[in-house]
């Protein structure tokens, strides 16, 4: 036994704590790295120690993150959400952790109202409001149906859903179609133009995409598109330009070959080409597939879900199954459209933080210098953000290489224990919805989860770890 080579020669030293001895070591010519240590900002010390000493943890986290890295994502179909997600009766899906109408924020209420009008469950806004307030519509998180939705994430039976499969682990995940920017349902707008667009998507775009996707000889490899995007200035959350154009390139021949009315095909192509976030609703289920592959690994402290419903932020971990750990959603900081300002912004909303959970988005900020000003400034800030996220995560994803960091893999697999110890919270890039129902998008920026999510997750993981540690 060689103690990891300890006795083989003068050791390099990494030191955490009081620095009295580091000087003496340097005087002896020893290479010393001083850790910028600070007391953990989250969690009871005994809980933290119980997790650190849980003999299952290292292997469990390795298993969990390896499943994430191995997962694939191909586009297999486009189908009505009601059919594919089993939405029976008056059931609407929404983003984030579970939510009631009473607790719902402005944009969430706006989107739910719009969905009731769109489905014909109510003829007027007042009727829709009464229906929702009376509990006449069941609300359920997208995440409980293998689905994700950006912003309000409201998904109703007549909307069409992307259907993705993970050929490695066999999972499936779903997401509705992206409506574009500005006044859109997912941002809480429900006016005539919103409903008209949704109707066109239901009647024209959805059926065209369904036929086109089914006609493709090779299914679209969504993971491969995501990987290429990072080489092209996208981070896959707040910037999806390259990904959207690549998707357009892949879908166009199939759409044109459908022998559908040329006006409809032209409108579909124009719609896709004019929406630089079109890919987001493909990227999100791809990330969801990877994170779902890591569900239910006892002893793992890796985060599998980060999602917000406009009121609360929710987190799930691989070691605690379907349990939500929630705290109040924070209001993003960033830049505003037109005359809007910080007072117009709703607290954080959307399942799109699945991108950061997977290691792209804000975690791969370094890949997207074009939008680094959301970080509050400069390219070095973006690089620093990504560098910090490496200390929160379990692995680097070789499939998601970041060119400016020498093609280092994206920081992937958030470790709850690392969040507690570093005092750094995950960095999320996000859109901002107006806080008043019906407003639509007001800006875009950055946000972090509330500490409460990680405090609760830590306590639950520690409680679960204790019997194993004692055994």
């Amino acid at each position: 036994m060689s103690l990891g080579g300890l006795l083989d020669g003068p050791p390099a030293v990494v030191a955490a704590g009081v620095d009295v001895f580091s000087g003496a070591l340097r005087a002896q010519g020893t290479e010393v790295t001083d850790v910028d240590w600070r007391p953990p900002g989250i969690g009871d010390p005994a809980d933290l120690a119980a997790l650190a000493l849980d003999p299952r943890r290292a292997a469990a986290n390795r298993t969990a993150v390896e499943r994430v890295l191995a997962a694939g994502a191909v586009l297999t179909d486009v189908r009505p959400a009601g059919e594919v997600l089993g939405l029976e009766g008056r059931l609407l899906l929404h983003s984030g952790p579970p939510l009631t109408w009473e607790a719902a924020s402005g944009p969430m209420r706006g989107a739910l109202l719009g969905a009731c009008l769109f489905e014909g469950w109510a003829a007027t806004v007042e009727e829709a409001e009464a229906l929702l307030a009376s509990g006449g519509v069941t609300l359920d998180p997208c995440h409980h149906h293998s689905a994700v939705g950006p912003m309000a994430g409201v998904t109703s039976p007549s909307m069409w859903a992307w259907c993705l499969e993970d050929p490695v682990n066999g999972g499936r995940a779903y997401c509705n179609l992206n409506e574009g920017l500005g006044k859109v349902l997912r941002m809480g707008a429900f006016g005539e133009e919103v409903l008209t667009r949704l109707a066109w998507m239901r009647d024209v775009l959805g059926p065209l995409l369904a036929r086109a996707v089914r006609s493709m000889a090779e299914p679209l490899d969504v993971k491969a598109v995501l990987a290429q995007m990072l080489q092209m200035g996208d981070e896959g959350h707040n910037r999806n330009r390259a990904g959207s154009l690549m998707t357009l390139r892949e879908l166009s021949p199939a759409l044109v070959a459908l022998d559908a009315p040329s006006d409809d095909v032209a409108a579909a192509l124009r719609f896709i080409g004019g929406n630089e976030h079109f890919f987001l609703n493909l990227g999100m289920p791809a990330a969801k597939l990877a994170m779902d592959a890591a569900r239910d690994v006892p002893g793992s402290t890796m985060v599998t879900v980060m999602a917000r419903n406009g009121t609360e932020f929710g987190v799930q971990t691989a070691g605690t199954g379907d349990r939500w750990f929630t705290g109040p959603a924070q209001t993003p900081v960033g830049l505003f459209l037109g005359d809007y300002g910080p007072e117009d912004a709703n607290p954080d909303i959307g399942d799109s933080a699945i991108m950061e959970t997977y290691g792209v988005g804000g975690f791969s900020m370094a890949a997207a210098p074009a939008i680094v000003r959301f970080v509050g400034g400069t390219v070095p800030d973006a690089l620093a953000t990504t560098e910090r996220m490496y200390q929160l995560t379990l692995a680097e994803n070789p499939a998601m290489a970041i060119p400016i960091l020498g093609f280092r893999g994206a920081p992937t697999g958030i470790d709850v224990l690392a969040v507690a110890r570093t005092g750094w919270l995950p960095q999320i890039n996000t859109g901002m919805a107006g806080r008043v129902a019906g407003t639509g998008q007001v800006g875009a920026g950055l946000v972090q989860p509330p500490r409460e999510c990680f405090e609760q997750a830590l306590a639950a993981l520690a409680q679960e770890a204790r019997p194993a540690t004692a055994a």
Partner: protein, 499 residues
């Protein structure tokens, strides 16, 4: 100042062709210009239908047809001056180039795990953890997970965490030195409180820091060097921990080609653990000698001398400086003021058969506990390095204040006494202990008839220099010995002469 409502004030709306900036940049310009005094509304954006609609909503619609490749500048301000200044500011902001480099300052590692990630994967490496005890296991576990050994200097680590760490380390084939390990030397690198000793064939496994310093310094004085000094923490040989680190350290030293002999230094171990260690030692190719302090084997110097005999080396005259002539006052008692716990134990074990009971804050038997009265009369040995006396202050090997005060108090008390002290040199210790101690001793000896005996643990190569310190202390009237056992016996002789 109340902002005018929409429609009030003056406005500027223009469309420019051939100018492009991305939307994020333009939102930033809008925000910066909007923050200027006198500006009430700003939209600087590419003239997409969405943005034109936004401008209309602000009452700042452009005239004529706008196209998405044009830049829309729409500003409202309280007066003409503010408006002109705002439009100028838009131009200035658009022409401003971001001054930045495409490199980030390295992000400091926040954990041992992140720090070890930054090291080259091959090559020896060691983590040192001295964070508050309740967090030490977190950092130590990182090192084990990374396949590296770790020295835990922190005290106050719960014993069950120590056991869990050491079991995990054993599984991973690495070593946890500590908790509460203050002394180690690995391949010549002194870690914590350690002395500059020559390299050589003796490996030391130590559950005692000052004990390890005493034996390595005496070996050095005898011309014999050490390969490694591996600290295992004061609790390692307890029943609860079961010698987990000692057993792994013995195996590692046995496999180390540079180690020909092993010396195990400790306070009295739990009998079952001592047996297990002896059994393991018997199965090694490398001869192992125990220097475990006990009433039967009270003397670290004797253990070193036996080891020298094993090596066929001559036992030297251990370095010393004779004290001034002059006897102890009649009825004198022993006052041992120590900074090293093991050295204090050794002094008590040697003194007890001669003097009878010696009271202490770290007593040999519970009924001899001094409690909080460190200036109690009679034979007393105080360990100023005990945890209870180091709360909120540095160890007495670094900060001598408490002990200097106790010396002054003793001289003023009028109680006849012989004063026995240790002074430990080396890395981590006071850079010049004699500088404060020698004047304090001289002052005390002016007040009272007080013979002083010092155990000076160190080497010539230490930063403080053994001889330099010894000469300064001798000049202040102390008798100085490199061996704590020899110092103690000298003090006992002085006391015997006085009876």
């Amino acid at each position: 100042m109340s902002a005018p409502g929409p429609g009030e004030g003056v406005s500027h709306v223009s469309l420019r062709s051939g100018v492009y900036a991305d939307s994020v940049r333009l939102m930033q310009v809008s925000r910066d210009v909007g923050a200027r005094d006198g500006v009430t509304a700003v939209l600087v954006a590419m003239a997409t239908p969405l943005n034109v609609e936004l401008a209309e909503g602000m009452g700042l619609a452009p005239e004529g047809a706008a196209s998405p490749d044009q830049l829309l500048i729409a500003v409202r301000a309280v007066d003409d001056d503010a408006l002109a200044a705002a439009v100028t500011a838009v131009d200035a902001a658009l022409s401003e180039r971001e001054r930045s480099r495409a490199t980030a300052d390295a992000q400091p590692a926040r954990t041992i795990g992140a720090g070890l990630d930054g090291l080259a994967p091959d090559g020896a490496a060691l983590a040192i953890v001295s964070v508050p005890g309740q967090y030490a296991a977190l950092e130590a576990a990182d090192a084990i997970a990374a396949g590296r050994s770790v020295l835990v200097f922190s005290d106050g680590v719960p014993v069950e965490q120590e056991v869990a760490l050491k079991r995990a380390a054993h599984e991973a084939g690495v070593l946890v030195m500590g908790p509460d390990c203050g002394t180690a030397i690995v391949s010549g690198v002194a870690l914590g409180f350690a002395n500059v000793v020559r390299p050589g064939p003796v490996g030391v496994v130590a559950a005692s820091g000052t004990g390890a310093q005493q034996v390595s310094c005496l070996l050095d004085a005898a011309g014999v060097g050490v390969s490694h000094v591996i600290g295992v923490g004061g609790r390692d040989l307890s029943e609860a921990v079961g010698g987990l680190a000692t057993l792994d350290a013995l195996a590692a030293l046995d496999a180390d080609p540079g180690t020909e002999r092993v010396l195990v230094v400790s306070k009295p171990p739990a009998p079952s653990v001592a047996e297990a260690v002896a059994r393991a030692a018997g199965g090694l190719a490398t001869p192992v000698r125990s220097a475990a302090l006990s009433p039967e084997t009270p003397d670290l110097t004797a253990a070193v001398e036996a080891l020298l005999a094993d090596l066929g080396r001559e036992v030297p005259r251990w370095p010393s400086r004779p004290g001034p002539d002059g006897a102890a006052p009649p009825g004198a008692v022993l006052k041992g003021f120590y900074s090293g716990g093991t050295l204090a134990d050794e002094a008590m074990l040697l003194a007890a058969p001669v003097l009878g009971d010696v009271r202490s804050n770290t007593p040999l038997r519970p009924e001899l506990d001094l409690g909080t009265d460190l200036s109690a009369p009679g034979h007393v040995v105080v360990d100023f390095g005990d945890d209870a006396l180091t709360v909120g202050r540095a160890h007495p090997m670094i900060d001598p204040t408490l002990r200097l005060e106790a010396i002054a108090r003793l001289a003023a008390s009028g109680e006849p006494a012989v004063l026995l002290l240790d002074v430990v040199l080396g890395y981590g210790a006071d850079a010049d202990p004699a500088a404060s101690l020698a004047p304090a001793l001289a002052a005390a000896r002016e007040k009272a008839q007080l013979p002083v005996v010092v155990a000076l643990v160190g080497t010539e190569a230490d930063p403080q220099g053994w001889s330099r310190q010894a000469d300064a202390l001798a000049a202040a009237g102390a008798a100085v010995f490199a061996s704590n056992a020899a110092a103690t016996r000298h003090a006992l002789d002085l006391l015997g002469d006085a009876r």
